[in-house]
Symmetry: C2
Subunit: 335 residues, 2 copies
């Protein structure tokens, strides 16, 4: 089966922004974030609405880097981790932009960019699109596990859900950083029902997508500058490293993971690294897109990784499924 | 802003199937369903897994009406109402088809078909795509409200969440029923936080999309055979009727609602009609697509309607937001 689509229409990133909270500012990328709120509240009364507001702020900052206003955006694709994705619909409703909600767990960032690119490519009516991804530590913890006030003990394989958002403006036409290819992910059984080891469950999906991409493209893994996964964290990244080193030698040397870049484990007790769909979205916006724009990176495969499960499915003994959609990003300076 | 996209590539429905439960078989469309399980369990141990199985059955029956197998499908777009959409990811993982999860509440059917059409239109690699939508009464009730065993009293404006699934195979090329246009919906404030009156909240979104469509297309509402909404039910349909009669005269005479077609209120105590994203999906598959295939209907605007909210957002006093993406379906016999 052929899975890689080369996008016919040139599509580039016209603007992007990363927004975070207290831990994100303290982390190694803190100074690269466009905006961080040390209280994680963004001026709101609940964590859930704070997440919605964070998405709004990210979209506004991304727009502020272009000459566009909300009414210029033809389609908004967004997702988050809250039940029924209410952070996206509740946070972004007031703009009046045609809206498409997606759910891909922590694969949301890549899935939203891929979907948006497909719509822009398909529809001549669409020139500008926006993609927004958010996650909030306090909203996610009390929904998926226990409220943080409970002080539950975290296991060593657990990851820290980031309070972070990434917003992206895609535009038809040539630009500094191009989105040139996409490949939807397949659902891969993570062979575990341990909700505190999602990185381990997702590693197999990332491996599946990376192998499928190079098998179909015929490219050598060393020909790309980076293969970036979303939030495998330490445990998942180690599994992926071993799998790649054995089955696709060279690819493991190009691999990095957003979940390992957001926090400094010597100072921030994140355990196995960062998770949450805001992780890959914010790290893409504040680190990799600027490096592609400057030409420091030329060709990047970007795979946000999602753990498809719910608290109910885990209680019912179901396995966690992983998915890793892939997009290819290229710098105009290095093509 | 131009919002209607005319799809460049001809895309048609190659196969479709409707699956339901006990109430759906007893309803006016019961005999048109491809398969119904009077126990609502589909051979599974939990309602949640029963919903996942229902989606699998629907996809298999839809495929059985074509000459295709799972490995021929290039992309699967699916969604449901369970938290984190686990009915879709858990039910459809084993096929190994590249997967895109969406969340549009009860607008899922239209959203999935629109998204799938965009990908097929954009990517020459994609010939066949599948879209699956499910909802299950017992899974939804215990997640959104209370377990049905609790026997909570329902208010007159409440709707009955259907146990139903619709699966659709889209194929590039000409065929009996074509998907010719799509228009993403905007998020519209339903001006209520009453989770037992979702039809009322969604009516404004349907009105917004219908008006936007005719304003942009310049077509007379009487030129289409039907304007089908998803699950406004009795309350929402009455609101929409009054709005259309006043602002877009003629359109109200073309309107019908899947939520009013699934159950017989004289025998089935559904209150304001059916809801749940399986409602519009199954009614499209078992009623409107066959009528378009035979030429009995020629031009149909189909808008599944979604209520974007979560139990948490309602408890926190937030309003319900509505969304109504639109697709245009045309019969080859009447074009």
């Amino acid at each position: 089966m052929n899975r890689i689509t080369k996008i016919n229409t040139p599509i580039h990133f016209a603007g992007y922004a990363a927004v975070g909270g207290y831990e994100e500012r303290r982390g190694p990328l803190g100074e690269k974030f466009d905006f961080c709120d040390d209280e994680d509240k963004f001026g709101q009364n609940t964590w859930e609405i704070a997440e919605a507001e964070m998405g709004r702020i990210a979209l506004n900052i991304a727009l502020s880097k272009t000459d566009l206003s909300h009414s210029d955006i033809d389609l908004l694709v967004a997702g988050d981790l809250q039940n029924q994705c209410v952070a996206s619909s509740g946070g972004l409703n007031s703009f009046g932009i045609p809206f498409l909600g997606i759910y891909g767990a922590c694969s949301t960032c890549t899935e939203s960019l891929m979907t948006l690119a497909s719509f822009i490519d398909s529809s001549e009516k669409m020139t500008y699109g926006a993609a927004v991804t958010t996650s909030h530590n306090s909203a996610a913890e009390r929904q998926f596990r226990t409220p943080i006030e409970y002080g539950g003990q975290r296991t060593p394989t657990a990851q820290w859900t980031s309070t972070a958002a990434g917003a992206f403006i895609l535009k038809r036409g040539e630009g500094d950083v191009m989105l040139t290819e996409y490949m939807p992910g397949r659902i891969v059984d993570g062979s575990t029902s341990d909700g505190a080891n999602m990185g381990g469950a997702m590693a197999f999906a990332a491996f599946d997508s990376i192998c499928a991409y190079f098998a179909e493209s015929g490219e050598n893994p060393l020909d790309v500058d980076l293969i970036v996964t979303g939030d495998l964290g330490r445990v998942g990244s180690n599994i992926l490293y071993e799998l790649l080193a054995k089955e696709l030698p060279g690819a493991e040397r190009r691999h990095t993971d957003c979940g390992l870049l957001l926090y400094d484990d010597s100072k921030q007790d994140s355990h196995s690294g960062a998770s949450g769909c805001g992780t890959s979205a914010s790290v893409l916006a504040c680190r990799f897109l600027p490096m592609l724009k400057s030409g420091e990176l030329r060709r990047v495969l970007f795979l946000s990784t999602g753990a498809l499960m719910s608290p109910s499915s885990l209680l019912q003994g179901e396995n966690i499924y992983g998915i890793a959609p892939l997009i290819r990003l290229e710098s105009a300076k290095g093509r």
